[in-house]
Amino acid sequence: MSTDRRTFLGVMGLGTLALAGEAALGAAASGEATGHGSKASRRWAMVIQPYKCLKEEGCKACTEACHKVHNVPSFPDRKHEVKWIWKEPYEKAFAAEHERVAESLREKPVLVFCNHCNNPPCVRVCPTKATWKREDGVVMMDWHRCIGCRYCVAACPYGSRSFNWLDPRPHIEKITPDYPTRTKGVVEKCTLCEERLSEGKLPACVEACPEKALVFGDLNDASSEVSGLLEENFTIRRKPELGTDPEIYYVVGGKPDVHV
């Protein structure tokens, strides 16, 4: 394991990071100039502010941006759907068990995607280490190693993983050449735009959101925007009782016109 491709890529990644400059990355990623510490001491997280997300009904800017840059196919049949980030009704996203959900939340769409858990069941079950947890919190995928057993799909308690039931390429509207397409028979999911992070860019969904409802940053940096949002708001995560420790947080309440 010591000199395999992943370690190599990791080293390369660190090298690139060093070249790109810590400060630039930190500034771009969190929206604030910080940039202390190495990659390993970072803890990427996302805070979602549903009240901002709800402002524009039917908005799909984040999904469209993500699926475009990552060559995510769109299959017409629900059976074969591949999704990285999408909206689910509040009741489904948070497994609400009662029927008296407040009007402001009832049936309202909530953004869901890979939670980049600190204790990811998908990584635990993968028989080939084709999915793994990076030190900065990103749950990664190696589409060349995946054998397509779908054990990770069974293990994910959030339904965040998709399998390529058929060849995805004919179902990509316009292929983005900068990013690989996948083959049939492998699992895929959100990778927190690791390819953009390594260039000091924000995740595509965060950048695309017209309301700035998604905030990305480093939880290990107390002055980052994500740390501030978690400090000032009541936030929840999906299915915390399972001990998966997700890194995607949702702000509860708030008004559309109030900016944190």
């Binding site: 629900r78 059976k79 497994a95 190693r145």
Partner: protein, 391 residues
């Protein structure tokens, strides 16, 4: 190949059976080529029900494989001589069942050409890795034991002493294959249906009922088509094993039902509701599950009452009922029920497609072909030695 010449001589009926199996295998193989080209999208599987018939058959057959221990253990640990000539049939059944298991896993892979990544990048924290280790180990043990035992039998000598440790090892190993298979499912935090410590014991109990039930049926076929007779006493003892195992299995199921419904936790209840009464208007498995329950109840009556159990005219029907009941329970309910509702609470129907069913049928046919050929060899060896009626 070893003693293979004995498998290529047979009656017209024997060859008709072999060719029928080969026909099914051929049809399934063509379907597999189609799946290989198009992807698993040609099956009924979906984003919501990601494992289905293939994995369900695998799970069921691990149980059949493990059940060989039910004849090996009494014979080798308790010197129960009645099972003496059954052990080899049990081991051959195990070899065929494990092979089917491996094939079912293989056809379920999205990237079958990469399957050796499991060995290339061994991952001990994955239960699938351990399943591979335990299944291939079990295959090796049974192949070795049956080979050594049969060649000793052909020479009319006792098996060599060095094989004993392997036989003893195969006993806990049989338990391990089904335990590890249960661990595949019951370590997943989001799948409440499987998240129960009784899953492994339940797997074992149902295996020790379904496996010996199949063995009884095979024994009855063997004595119809050959001069070898395992004996009424062996069959009756096997039926006693089926009785206890089936009772324990049903007891475990009821314990599960109590825990789920008395605690009233919705996430645990929903799966049972989907299976037995339907959920969100989807009730396509309900008739199957109640059929399984009815067959279980009826077979228990026929097993528990000695008059029925010991009647060898009724017993084959009872065995078919046990086998079917447990096949529905594990082959349909366990996997589909575990995936429904989904983690997001959706209920999505899964219906296997025709090519998918043909691939399943072909793998079963491969298993039956193996059993047929193995049994043919074993019986030919015995007939040449002048074994006739066992008692």
């Amino acid at each position: 190949m070893f003693m293979f010449e004995k498998a290529v001589v047979g009656s017209r009926r024997y060859w008709a059976w072999i060719f029928a199996l080969l026909l099914v295998i051929g049809a399934g193989f063509l379907c597999y080529l189609y799946q290989l080209r198009e992807g698993l999208g040609i099956t009924g599987l979906s984003r919501d029900v990601t494992w289905g018939f293939y994995i369900a058959q695998f799970t069921f057959l691990v149980g059949v494989a493990a059940s060989a221990v039910m004849v090996v253990l009494p014979y080798y640990l308790h010197d129960f001589k009645v099972f003496g000539r059954l052990t080899i049939l049990g081991e051959f059944l195990a070899i065929s069942a494990v092979t089917m298991c491996m094939l079912f896993i293989f056809v379920d892979m999205g990237q079958p050409t990469r399957v050796l990544n499991v060995i290339l990048h061994p991952t001990p924290n994955s239960m699938m890795f351990w399943d591979m280790v335990s299944l291939s180990g079990y295959l090796f043990l049974n192949a070795l034991i049956s080979l050594v035992a049969l060649s000793a039998e052909r020479k009319a000598v006792a098996p060599p002493g060095w094989i004993k440790p392997f036989i003893y090892l195969s006993i806990p190993w049989a338990v391990s294959i089904h335990t590890v298979t249960a661990f595949l499912y019951n370590g997943l935090p989001g799948r409440s249906f499987w998240l129960t410590a009784i899953l492994a014991p339940r797997f074992l109990a149902s295996a020790f009922a379904a496996g010996p039930a199949l063995l009884i049926l095979l024994c009855m076929i063997v004595r119809k088509v050959s001069s070898f007779d395992p004996g009424d006493e062996a069959i009756r003892k096997l039926s006693l094993i089926v009785t206890y195992a089936m009772l324990i299995n049903c007891f475990f199921v009821l314990m599960e039902v109590f825990t789920v419904f008395y605690s009233g936790i919705p996430e645990h209840k929903q799966h049972f509701q989907f299976l037995f009464v339907g959920l969100q208007g989807q009730n396509y498995l309900v008739p199957w599950m109640w059929t399984s329950m009815a067959l279980a109840a009826l077979s228990l009556v026929l097993l528990v009452v000695p008059r029925f159990r010991n009647n060898l005219k009724i017993l084959p029907f009872t065995c078919v009922m046990v086998f079917l009941s447990l096949w529905i329970d594990k082959g349909l309910g366990l996997i589909i029920g575990g995936f429904t509702p989904t983690p997001l609470g959706d209920v999505v129907q899964y219906t296997p497609t025709a090519p998918e069913l043909l691939i399943v049928a072909a793998i079963w046919a491969i298993g039956f072909l193996m059993i047929t050929v193995f049994y043919k060899i074993a019986l030919a060896v015995r007939e040449s030695l002048g074994y006739e009626i066992a008692h």
